[in-house]
Amino acid sequence: MPEAESGRVAGEDLFAALGDPTRRRLLDRLSTDGPLSATDLARDYPVSRQAVAKHLGTLTAAGLVRPQRRGREVLYDVAPARLAEASRWLADIGAKWDNRLAALSEQLSDG
């Protein structure tokens, strides 16, 4: 299973996966209603099942969703740890820049 893979997926893959609006919508849906199949997900969006399956492949490679085989279907669920890692990075680095730019603005206004 993907969650048993050793090592971390590249940060670049993670953020590239999150950079697409369709994939963010799929993640949003899975986080509230998952696990769901590609067919379930395609029903709600104006994209083909094939397109949804491709996006799910990207999300799986980035470690953001976990596929699990159930009978003839593959169901997808959000992998919360991976999403937490992304949001922690955004929160930490974002807060640093907020502080830096506030101090910079002040410094330049004084001078």
Binding site: E12, G19, T32, A84, A86, L104, Q107
Partner: protein, 143 residues
């Protein structure tokens, strides 16, 4: 990716100095930066909080654009290399400054000059929304 945007009441030349002169950086950056502003030149950072980073200057266009890549010096987490870009644009009564920080996929020199695709639509507003979404999604997560 993080993207922040501020407008400061100073000329682009003045802002560039504050962004790049190590002495002036001490007042706002949160640590000491040692660097030479030439593409390919190494940089070294000692944060006031004890954080140590090293990296490489990538692109230098005075008063317009600066880009560098940096990563933790201890190498504890090789996934933590990121690229920082400053964009300066003259605006009415000052300068418009955009800062971006984007995670890269590997630490060290191999991380140089990588620019992840797919980010054009993801501004800081969306990133903020994501932080909120992911925080709220844990309660419903099943492990």
């Amino acid at each position: 990716m993080i993207r922040r945007h501020v407008k400061v009441p100073a000329s682009a030349e003045r802002v560039w100095e504050a962004l790049t002169d190590p002495e002036q950086m001490c007042g706002w950056f949160g640590g000491e930066m040692a660097w030479v502003l030439e593409p390919g030149a190494p940089l070294s950072y000692h944060g006031d909080d004890g954080e140590r980073r090293q990296g490489t200057v990538e692109e230098v266009r005075p008063a317009r654009r600066l880009r560098f890549v940096w990563w933790p010096s201890d190498g504890a987490d090789s996934a933590e290399a990121s690229e920082v870009t400053y964009l300066l644009q003259p605006a009415a009564d000052g300068t418009s400054l955009t800062v971006q920080e984007t995670p890269l996929h590997a630490a060290g020199p191999t991380a140089r000059a990588r620019t992840p695709a797919g980010w054009s639509d993801w501004d800081s507003r969306l990133a903020g929304a994501w932080v909120g979404l992911s925080a709220s999604s844990w309660s419903g997560a099943r492990g």
